[in-house]
């Protein structure tokens, strides 16, 4: 159990939780506040990450420009997707969005020349050349370390990611309390009632998708910077499901429940790694991985049973669903 106390490890867990916070905030906006059943959320994380990496490696653009462009691209594609799909009934919308995320993953896998294919971003500069997009980021990270007198890269990353995550959470919190946010919530509750009161539901849904996708794209950027390498397999639907779990775990319809949900989720996920007591000790490490996921699945089902409103949700609101 020596790694249990390792600061580096928990800093890493914290970073991942921070990335997931940003990612899941987008979903909270789309579903928790607007009622859009987006199951393709991970596609926009991929779009953000790939756009930045491709721009940096293939066109030599500075990361500081590529990053905002990547976020805008995610938002734009979110709007494009929404234009054709947002009028669909919610269960259809759900399926179409999964389909979309799988299409993105397929394109990323097969368009080698554009995305590096299955080998991922190492391949972006073409065969035989290992490419890196992370140069500028690493310099920035060192600068942060210097300014804050932190010894470890992971802790520096932790600070940056959480600064952004908390800023986004605060921003979402403020936005939802405006009349704009009120319209979104009314769409979640009853679109037809919102329409009958003069709200252009279509346009608001598109805005929700745009911001939600931008958040996912931002999460993609941090994912890319943290791991300095990624491939299409990293953006599987499983990540969207994790985001769903975080949003529901934390509590639907509350901005601040997302960081809480992400942290709890991260701790559970990482913490089960250290279960080396019985019955875990009976299995070898490969099997232990499966067992951990079974435990996580049981935790999720248990939560649904005993605390369906999530950690910060309100039971009376849940009942009205």
């Amino acid at each position: 159990m020596s790694t249990l106390a390792s600061g580096e490890f928990w800093a890493f867990v914290g970073v991942v939780a921070g990335i997931y916070t940003i990612f899941a905030l987008g979903l909270q906006l789309e579903f928790g506040f607007t009622g859009l059943l987006n199951f393709g959320h991970v596609a926009f994380m991929a779009i953000g990450a790939y756009t930045m990496a491709i721009l940096v490696v293939k066109t030599g653009l500075s990361m500081w420009i590529a990053a905002p462009v990547a976020i805008l691209t995610s938002a734009a594609i979110g709007i494009l997707l929404g234009l054709s799909t947002v009028r669909l009934r919610s269960d259809y919308f759900a399926i179409v969005t999964i389909a979309f995320s799988e299409i993105i993953r397929y394109v990323a896998t097969n368009e080698d020349r554009l995305t590096g294919g299955t080998q991922g971003t190492i391949n972006l500069a073409g065969a035989g050349e290992a490419s890196q997009y992370n140069g500028e980021w690493e310099r920035f990270q060192s600068w942060v370390q210097g300014v804050l007198h932190i010894g470890s890269k992971d802790v520096a990353m932790l600070v940056v990611v959480w600064a952004v995550a908390l800023a986004c959470t605060g921003g979402l919190y403020a936005a939802i309390r405006t009349p704009w946010g009120r319209v979104l919530k009314s769409i979640r509750e009853d679109e037809d009632a919102a329409r009958s009161l003069g709200k252009n539901v279509f346009a608001y849904k598109l805005q929700s998708l745009a911001f939600g996708s931008a958040l996912a794209g931002t999460a993609g950027l941090f994912y890319a910077w943290q791991f300095s390498f990624f491939s299409p397999g990293d953006f599987a639907p499983l990540l969207t499901f994790f985001a769903w779990m975080i949003v529901i775990l934390g509590g639907l319809g509350r901005a601040w429940s997302v960081p809480v949900g992400a942290l709890v989720f991260g701790v559970i996920f990482a913490g089960t790694r250290f279960f080396d007591f019985a019955p875990f000790s009976w299995f070898d490490s490969a099997d232990r991985a499966y067992l951990r996921l079974i435990v996580i699945g049981l935790v999720i089902v248990g939560l649904v049973f005993f605390r369906p409103q999530g950690i910060l949700g309100k039971r009376d609101e849940m009942v009205l669903e």
């Binding site: 399926i95 299409i103 394109v107 499966y290 996921l293």
Partner: protein, 294 residues
Amino acid sequence: MFLQLLVNGLVTGSVFAIAAVGVSLIYGILRLVNFAYGDVMAYGACMAFLFNVTLGLQMVLSTALAMVATAVLSVTLELVLWRPLRARGAGFMSLFLASIGLALILRQMLLLVAGPQSRAYDVNPYKVYVIGSVRLSGSQAIAIAVAVVAIVLVGVLLSSTSLGRTMRAVADDRALAAVAGVDTGRVIVLTWIVSGLLAGLAGVLAALVQSTFDPNFGFALLLPVFAAVVLGGIGSPYGALLGGFVLGVVTELSTWGGFFGGVNSVYKPVVAFAILIGVLLVRPQGLLGRARVV
């Protein structure tokens, strides 16, 4: 070539169709989008392996036993998970989340017990039927034949038996059916049995047609199956059947050279999704679904 692709499409389509009906029946009666369905199919395939290879039983018998095992699993889950959740007033979100958790548990248990390696059934891989310009492997021929029988049986069940009528009544309006004296609990269990049998069958057929399979293959199947249900129109089991076949046939045919040089066969799932999106844009309720009324 075209005919060969058409036949291949019918084979894939059969698997989709059977699975899609199973999904549709449960959705119709419980409004539950069962994300665990793919892994239940994988469970069926693995059970058939257990009977066929480990225990040495003949393939047809193994399939039947696997279907029974899957039905038992489905009913158990209903009694242990779904029914108690419904009793607690679980809404759509909770049920959906529970099905994700369940999918995770099922798949990891299969991996734990069986391991991630690919396996194949004990069938003759070299048997080929040649009809005109079309070659059918033994597995493919079985898949089509079985699918046709299964579909006919399901169709008869739904339209002509009192159980079928009751299932449709409960799907239409559960509260009303209960008031009318229908034992909704019993109907729900029976629906899970039918859905479980179909899941098991679809899983085995999919594994047969693929030649080799591993416990992870359930999810890859789940998406086209859901797409088939939506394509056919949510709430219509016949739509699910149609959607399954359309999806299977069109995706295979899309690789035909005569169609603008053919789509790269790696992109077949993309074609499936593109079809789905295309149809929904023109007909938002799906092929056989009912239009929305305010």
